[in-house]
């Protein structure tokens, strides 16, 4: 038995990703099945419904691409996709909704600006205080001064902010939007999500990967809590709608055509992302990222850049999530902070990625569309099954079913998503379309 063929230790060199030249049977079969499924949905549910589903699936594909580069390319697990999606949705809302004159026409913007400036000044003072030791102040005293200053200034600024935000709420409802085209919001949403990702990644990426998962889970809940409770900024639970589309809306073109137009925009966005990711994956940068994922120790020997590369990839993924969240938010034409759920916006995306094939962009897109179709179709199915159970139970056992059966039926989908995650991890850890890695030798 010759050792050289199968004992090559993958730890030594980054895996080469030159695709094999072969007919892509698996891809053709899978995408063919997907096409049949889509056509079936069109036949069953009508064009308007099905096109909406496709647009949403396309938005999820952008989110999934964001997660696939974090998890598939770099092995970073982001458990808070929801937070970044919500940020994108918020920016899409803030930038595209018409200007609120009840706010801008008063002295309120000035006051809000003043408080924000105070906040900035307070931050600078506290940061300055942490540098006091350079002026010869003992370190312990410096820490004490900095902490006391931070607490006092924080309380002052937060009190002023509470005043001005409650005034805004009372007088103007909320700050309203900027009245700009929706795409400006998408871009800023991506940038904002990337910024938050930078901060989180900066803290966590040098540590065990578990910590990143915990921190992202936390930040997602915090972003949601902030958007939900900042009525002056987002109208909170009162929701904001409609959000203007960058394309002609249903009123002008009808549902199917307007949605198809929107779909074509999303398709272009995906195509551009796909192309750029493909280039990056095969560039030295992409090889380095995978080298780090496959063997941190030997990659670390290449230099201390490892955390910087990891941060880059994490931020890039977050940007895509923000962007996708913005496009999705605009399409829904409704900003409802409570509508962001870990199940729908984090775990569904996770299933798409691990089922489709982490690290394989095509597989990820396949996973996104396929899982989204199943997801959408499972809702009526779950309700139907539950009604069936209830009616059988009532007629045969005289069972007095609780009246919230419908909301419970939807919980069955939580169960199914959880089962999918564990089963895929166990039985198909590389997904349906695995990342293509050719071994030399």
């Amino acid at each position: 038995m010759s050792d050289s063929t199968n004992t090559r230790n993958p730890a030594y060199t980054p895996k080469d990703a030159t695709p094999e030249r072969r007919f892509p049977v698996r891809e053709v079969v899978l995408f063919g099945t997907l096409l049949v499924a889509i056509l079936a949905v069109y036949g069953l549910m009508g064009a308007a419904y099905s096109t909406r589903m496709l647009v949403e699936a396309a938005c999820y594909a952008i989110l999934a691409l964001g997660l696939t580069i974090q998890w598939g390319y770099a092995g970073q697990f982001n458990a808070g996709v929801m937070g970044f999606v919500a940020l994108g949705g918020f920016c899409a809302m803030l930038f595209s909704v018409p200007v609120n004159d009840a706010f801008w026409g008063t002295e309120l913007p000035g006051e809000l600006g003043r408080v924000l400036l105070y906040g900035l000044a307070a931050t600078l003072v506290v940061v300055g205080a942490t540098r006091l030791d350079r002026l010869g102040v003992p370190k312990k005293l410096r820490t004490l001064i900095a902490v006391v200053l931070a607490v006092v200034l924080y309380l002052v600024v937060i009190s002023l902010l509470r005043d001005v935000t409650s005034q805004i709420q009372a007088q103007a409802g909320f700050v309203g939007g900027f009245g700009l085209p929706a795409w400006t919001g998408w871009i800023v949403g991506g940038a904002l999500a990337g910024g938050v990702g930078y901060l989180i990644g900066h803290v966590c990426l040098g540590l065990r990967s578990d910590y990143l998962a915990i921190a992202t889970l936390g930040i997602a809940e915090i972003i949601k809590a902030f958007l939900k409770n900042s009525d002056w900024l987002t109208r909170g639970t009162a929701t904001v709608s409609p959000l203007p589309w960058p394309t002609p809306g249903p009123a002008e073109l009808g549902f199917t055509l307007s949605r198809a137009l929107y779909l074509s925009i999303t398709a272009v966005v995906i195509a551009v992302i796909f192309f750029l990711l493909h280039r990056a994956y095969h560039a030295p940068w992409g090889r380095m990222i995978r080298a780090i994922r496959d063997n941190e120790v030997s990659a670390a020997a290449m230099g201390k850049d490892i955390n910087k590369r990891r941060l880059e990839i994490f931020v890039l993924g977050c940007i895509l999530m923000g962007l996708g969240g913005g496009i999705l938010g605009t399409f829904n034409s409704l900003f409802d902070p409570q509508g962001y759920l870990p199940l729908n916006h984090t775990f569904l995306v996770l299933v798409m990625v691990i089922l489709g094939g982490p690290g394989n962009n095509l597989g990820t897109i396949f996973g996104a569309v396929a899982v989204y179709i199943i997801w959408i179709m499972s809702e009526p199915l779950a309700l139907f099954l539950m009604q069936l159970i209830v009616s059988v139970g009532e007629s045969t056992f005289g069972w007095d079913a609780p009246n919230n059966m419908d909301s419970r039926a939807l919980q069955a989908r939580v169960l199914v998503i959880g089962m999918l995650i564990t089963l895929v991890l166990r039985f198909a850890p590389k997904g349906l379309l695995p990342e293509k890695i050719t071994h030399h030798g």
């Binding site: 050792d3 004992t7 230790n9």
Partner: protein, 241 residues
């Protein structure tokens, strides 16, 4: 041909191939050791010395060949099962439980024989007197030599019939090194077979009944310790002239 139990080697390895995963580091190693013997494995870096010890103790894959303990095949048994059968192992690094006290470390050695703890603790303390006053201190706070004593003491707590030592004197001062070799001889005199890997080859071979010189995962020389020390080929290639 009448084989009595006394002629069955305590440990026998025949043509062992093995390593991490599918990659073989050992390419056919033979060994046999009787209960009254001290065996020493020496050889250059990367020869597979520690790997052989780990293969015997079930810590990595044996892809081909046999390992027998008292004539019974043991390869691919989990290490906790081997402890039940009378094997003790002292790894080279991380050989104590740092947050457990010395006494608790020793108790863990007798995990499978809880009724022995009291008696064996007394024996081990008598054997390694410096441990007595440290017994309530976490083992992580001890010096390297003291840790080695804890590690050997822990392995002895189970009253093994075969003790595997992976470079017991690595990183120790010459004073401690001689102390450890003395202890090894005493343990052997008490009826425990010893198989150890050593970098300090000359000193180790001096106390060895059997020496195994490995290179590239295979036996190069096998003889008594004294004979190997006297062999000019061994001296030139493996003992630094």
């Amino acid at each position: 041909m009448s084989l009595t139990t006394s002629t069955t080697p305590l440990l026998e390895a025949r043509n062992v191939h093995g390593g991490y995963g599918a990659m073989n580091i050992l390419n056919g190693v033979d060994m046999s050791l009787y209960a009254h013997e001290v065996g020493v494995i020496v050889g250059p870096n990367g020869a597979g010395k520690s790997t052989m010890l780990k293969a015997i103790f079930g810590l990595l894959n044996v892809n081909q060949g046999d390992i027998l303990l008292n004539g019974e095949p043991i390869h691919n048994l989990a290490s906790n099962k081997l402890v039940e059968r009378g094997m003790g192992f002292v790894p080279q690094e991380k050989n104590v439980f740092p947050s457990l006290t010395v006494k608790e470390n020793l108790e863990m050695g007798a995990y499978l024989k809880p009724h022995n703890v009291k008696r064996m603790l007394e024996q081990v303390y008598a054997f390694f007197p410096p441990l007595v006053e440290k017994r309530h201190q976490p083992a992580g706070e001890l010096s390297g030599g003291q840790r080695q004593m804890v590690a050997m003491g822990r392995a002895l707590m189970a009253e093994p019939s075969l003790l595997l030592l992976d470079e017991p004197t690595a990183g120790l001062s010459p004073l401690y090194m001689n102390e450890i070799f003395d202890r090894v001889k005493q343990i052997n005199a008490a009826g425990v077979g010893i198989l150890m890997v050593e970098q300090n080859a000359r000193q180790a071979l001096a106390i060895a009944d059997k020496g195994f010189v490995l290179a590239a995962g295979q036996n190069r020389f096998t003889d008594t310790g004294a004979a190997l020390l006297a062999d000019p080929d061994v001296a030139k290639s493996f003992l630094g002239g």
